[in-house]
C-alpha cells in the first residue's frame, strides 16, 4: 500500500507542476481529461459501485449547469455557491427517478432504458422552457474573475478540474472503505443476498443515485463556466451520457482509478484522432478510427484497462485487496 500512496503522491506532484512545462492547448486537453474523469467517477458511484446502470447522467449535468448558471445570471449568485444548489436539484431529480426505478424493481437493461427515457424527457422539457433560453440555449456572459468562475487562461481551469478529479477520487476512496461503499458493492454483486444480510437495498441504491447525481451536477457547473453556452441538445442528450460513461467503462468500471485511466487514454486519443485525421475530403474518418479503438478496447480489456494494469503490477505492488 505504501508504494501505491507514494506513487500517487508523485503523480499528483507532477500534475501540480505540469502547467510550467506545457502549452495552453495541452492544459486544455488535461482539463477535459480531468473533467471527464470526474464525470465518469460520479457515474461510477452509481453504476460501478452500487450496480444500476444509468445512461441518463446528462440530465444531472444539465440540471447542475442550468441551475448554477441561472442563479449567477439572474440573481448574481456566484457559481461557487450555485453549484451546490444545482447539485441538490439534480440530486432530487435523481432520487425521484431512483424511487420509481427501484420501487418498481427495474434491473439491468430495463433500468438503462428508464434512464434514457427520463434523460430525453428532460432534454425535451428544457428545450421548451423559456427561462433556459428555449431552443436558443443560454449564452453565458463572460466576466473574468474568481467569484464568477470565469478565467482568461487555462491555468485556473486546470487546477479546478484537477481539484474536482482529486475530490472525486477521495470521495470514492472514502466510500470504498466505509459502510456505505461496502453496502453498495454488496448490492451490486447480489441484491437478494445483501437484503438477506440486513442491508436496506432500496435505501442504499437511493443514496448511491442521489450522491452520483449530486456530483455529476457539480461538474455541470464547471462545464457551463468553461464552455459558456448551454443548449439542451449539447448538454442533455443521450450522446453526452455516452461520453460520460465511455471513459470509466474502458478504464475499469467499479474501480477507483478506472475513470481516470479511461479518461487519460480516451480523451487524448479522440484529440489525436481528430488532429491527425482531419483531412479535407475525408471528413469523418477520425470518428471511424475512434470507434474502432473503442470496440477494440472492449474486446481486449473486458474488465477494463485498470484491472489489466492491476494484474500486471500485482507482483510489484502486492495484494491490494482486503484480507
Amino acid at each position: 500500500m505504501k508504494i501505491i500512496y507514494s506513487l500517487l503522491g508523485l503523480i499528483l506532484l507532477i500534475l501540480l507542476l505540469l502547467p510550467n512545462f506545457v502549452s495552453d492547448y495541452i492544459l486544455g486537453v488535461f482539463v477535459l481529461i480531468f473533467f471527464y474523469a470526474y464525470m465518469g467517477q460520479s457515474w461510477n458511484i452509481l453504476t460501478g459501485y452500487a450496480g444500476p446502470i444509468s445512461l441518463g447522467h446528462s440530465l444531472y449535468l444539465g440540471i447542475g449547469a442550468y441551475i448554477s448558471t441561472k442563479l449567477a445570471m439572474d440573481l448574481g449568485v456566484t457559481p461557487w455557491v450555485g453549484m451546490w444548489i444545482g447539485g441538490l436539484g439534480a440530486s432530487l431529480i435523481g432520487l425521484a427517478i431512483g424511487f420509481l426505478g427501484f420501487r418498481f424493481g427495474l434491473k439491468g437493461v430495463y433500468f438503462v432504458l428508464l434512464t434514457i427515457a427520463f434523460g430525453e424527457i428532460g432534454r425535451l422539457t428544457a428545450l421548451h422552457l423559456k427561462p433556459l433560453g428555449h431552443m436558443m440555449g443560454l449564452f453565458v456572459d463572460f466576466k473574468p474573475g474568481l467569484a464568477n468562475f470565469h478565467f482568461r487562461g487555462n491555468l485556473p481551469y486546470y487546477y479546478i478540474a484537477l481539484g474536482f478529479m482529486v475530490f472525486s477520487l477521495i470521495v470514492v476512496r472514502v466510500l470504498e472503505v466505509s459502510k456505505w461503499g461496502r453496502y453498495f458493492v454488496a448490492l451490486r454483486e447480489d441484491e437478494d443476498a445483501a437484503e438477506s444480510l440486513g442491508i436496506n437495498v432500496f435505501k442504499y441504491k437511493m443514496i448511491a443515485i442521489g450522491l452520483s447525481a449530486f456530483m455529476t451536477a457539480l461538474g455541470g457547473t464547471f462545464y457551463a463556466n468553461y464552455i459558456f453556452y448551454l443548449h439542451p441538445t449539447s448538454v442533455m442528450s443521450m450522446w453526452v451520457s455516452i461520453e460520460i460513461i465511455m471513459r470509466p467503462i474502458i478504464g475499469g468500471i467499479g474501480t477507483l482509478f478506472g475513470p481516470l485511466i479511461g479518461s487519460l487514454l480516451l480523451t487524448p486519443l479522440s484529440e489525436i484522432a481528430r488532429s491527425y485525421f482531419t483531412r479535407a475530403g475525408l471528413e469523418g474518418i477520425h470518428i471511424v478510427i475512434y470507434g474502432l479503438l473503442l470496440v477494440t478496447a472492449v474486446l481486449f480489456f473486458p474488465g477494463g484497462i485498470f484491472s489489466f494494469i492491476q494484474k500486471v503490477l500485482k507482483p510489484i505492488l502486492g495484494e491490494s485487496r482486503e484480507s
Binding site: 502547467p19 428545450l127 449564452f139 464552455i227 443548449h231 481528430r274 471528413e283
Partner: protein
C-alpha cells in the same frame, strides 16, 4: 501571474517562428523560403449537419487558395496563408477544444463555425486567449452582445434577417395590392430555427406588420416525417407558409405539401438553408419552383462572384457558391484584408485592422464589409431569392435582381404534374 505571462509570450513567439511545443509527433515544419501565416477554419464537418459544415470548409479553403495564388499577403513579403482545419463535430466542447488546438498550432485568426452555439464557445475562448475570431456564418444576436473584443461577424444578425424580410414583404404586398397575409411560421426546434422563426414573429408584432401568424409550428431537428406537421398546417389554412428549414426537411416539406395538396399563395422562408442547395432543386425539380428565401446571397451580377463561382463549380462538380460557402469565402477574405493592413500577426494589430475593415466586395449581396462597435458587419444584407424554372434567381432588392419575383405562385405544387 508573471509565470503565466511568460508562458503566453513564449507561446506567441513560438507560434510566430513556427516552432511547436506540442506533444510527441506534432508536425515539424521546414521553413526556409516564404513565411507562412496560419489561420484556422473550424466547421461542423461531422455530425448532424456535416453537409453544411463541409460546404463551409470548402469555402474557407478556396479563399485561402485564391489569396495564395494571387501572391499571398503582400505587405508581409508575400506570406502565404495556411488553413488549419478543425472539426467541431457540432459540439460546443469539441469546438472549444479544436479552437485551442489550432491556436496551439499557431493560428493567428480563426474563422467559422456555422453553429451559433459553437460560435459562443469559440468566441469566449478567443476572448480568453486574445486571438481574433471572424464568424463567417452564425446568426444569433446574443453572441455579439457579450462585449467580446476579439470577435467579428461577417454574417447578418437574426434581427437583420427579420428587418430585411419585412422590407421585402412590404414591397411585395404593396406592389401586389395585398393588405393582409395570413401565414403560418414553421421551424426546426434548434437554435437557428427557433431564433429565425421567433424573431420573425416578434418583429412582425412589434412593427404591427399586416402578416397574421395563424400558427407557429416547431419540429425537432433531424425529423424524418413531416406529415403530421403539414396536416396541422393545412388545417390552419394559411395563405403563405414561412418555413425555416434544413436541407433534409425542406425536401420532406415540399413533398408533403404536394401529397396533402395544401393550397398556398407562396412559400417564403424568413431565411434558412434547405431551399437553395443544388440537391434541393435536383431532387424536387418543378416542385421547387416559386419557393422564396430571404437569405444573405451571392451577388449574381458581381464580378468577384462570377470568378469564384466558376472556380468553385469546377473544383466541386455539382456545387456552387451559396450563402454558406459564399460567406465562408468572404470570412477568409476579411481576415486576409486585415492581415494585409496590419502588416503583423500580433492579435491586437489584427483586431485593430479588423475594426477598420472596409472591404469592398461584390461576392455577396450587401455593401462593403465594415464592422460596428459590437463587431457586427453593418453592411451585411439579405436578398430575396426565388426558384424560377428550377434555377435560383435573385428577385429583390431590385438593384441586384436578376428577374422579377413571381407571386402568388401561378400553379399549386400538386398541379405541376411531377
Amino acid at each position: 501571474m508573471k509565470k503565466k505571462m511568460n508562458r503566453r509570450t513564449f507561446l506567441k513567439y513560438s507560434a510566430a517562428v513556427g516552432a511547436t511545443t506540442a506533444m510527441a509527433g506534432a508536425p515539424t515544419l521546414l521553413r526556409a523560403q516564404a513565411p507562412e501565416i496560419k489561420i484556422a477554419s473550424i466547421q461542423p464537418v461531422t455530425g448532424v449537419i456535416s453537409d453544411i459544415g463541409i460546404s463551409m470548409r470548402r469555402g474557407n479553403q478556396m479563399a485561402v487558395d485564391d489569396i495564395n495564388a494571387r501572391g499571398g499577403i503582400k505587405s508581409m513579403g508575400g506570406a502565404k496563408l495556411r488553413l488549419l482545419l478543425g472539426d467541431s463535430e457540432a459540439k460546443e466542447d469539441v469546438a472549444r477544444s479544436e479552437a485551442e488546438r489550432v491556436i496551439k498550432d499557431g493560428a493567428v485568426t480563426l474563422v467559422g463555425p456555422f453553429l451559433s452555439g459553437n460560435a459562443m464557445a469559440i468566441a469566449t475562448l478567443c476572448e480568453q486567449r486574445g486571438v481574433p475570431f471572424v464568424m463567417d456564418v452564425a446568426a444569433a444576436d446574443d453572441i455579439t452582445r457579450k462585449g467580446f473584443k476579439y470577435t467579428f461577424r461577417v454574417f447578418p444578425t437574426t434581427t437583420k434577417f427579420a428587418d430585411s424580410m419585412l422590407f421585402y414583404m412590404d414591397k411585395i404586398m404593396k406592389e401586389k395590392n395585398i393588405s393582409r397575409i395570413r401565414g403560418v411560421v414553421t421551424n426546426t426546434g434548434d437554435l437557428f430555427g427557433r431564433v429565425q422563426g421567433a424573431t420573425f414573429i416578434k418583429v412582425l408584432k412589434e412593427k404591427k406588420f399586416p402578416i397574421e401568424v395563424l400558427g407557429h409550428i416547431e419540429y425537432p431537428l433531424g425529423i424524418q416525417d413531416l406529415s403530421a406537421e403539414i396536416s396541422k398546417i393545412k388545417a390552419l389554412k394559411p395563405e403563405v407558409l414561412f418555413p425555416v428549414a434544413r436541407p433534409g426537411d425542406a425536401k420532406l416539406m415540399i413533398r408533403e405539401l404536394y401529397k396533402q395538396r395544401v393550397e398556398l399563395q407562396g412559400i417564403i422562408s424568413p431565411g434558412s438553408p434547405g431551399w437553395y442547395e443544388p440537391e434541393f432543386i435536383r431532387d424536387m425539380k418543378v416542385l421547387a419552383d416559386y419557393v422564396m428565401d430571404n437569405v444573405p446571397w451571392y451577388n449574381p451580377v458581381g464580378k468577384m462572384y462570377k470568378e469564384v463561382n466558376a472556380a468553385f463549380a469546377k473544383k466541386f462538380p455539382g456545387k456552387y457558391i451559396d450563402t454558406n460557402s459564399g460567406y465562408a469565402y468572404l470570412g477568409v477574405l476579411v481576415i486576409a484584408d486585415a492581415l494585409e493592413r496590419a502588416k503583423s500577426t500580433k492579435p491586437d494589430d489584427i483586431v485593430a485592422a479588423l475594426k477598420k475593415t472596409y472591404l469592398k466586395q461584390d461576392l455577396m449581396v450587401g455593401l462593403a464589409v465594415a464592422f460596428d462597435e459590437k463587431g457586427d458587419n453593418i453592411n451585411a444584407d439579405t436578398a430575396m431569392i426565388q426558384i424560377i424554372g428550377q434555377s435560383i434567381k435573385v428577385v429583390l432588392p431590385e438593384k441586384a435582381a436578376e428577374t422579377k419575383y413571381v407571386y402568388p405562385m401561378p400553379k399549386q405544387i400538386w398541379d405541376r404534374g411531377a
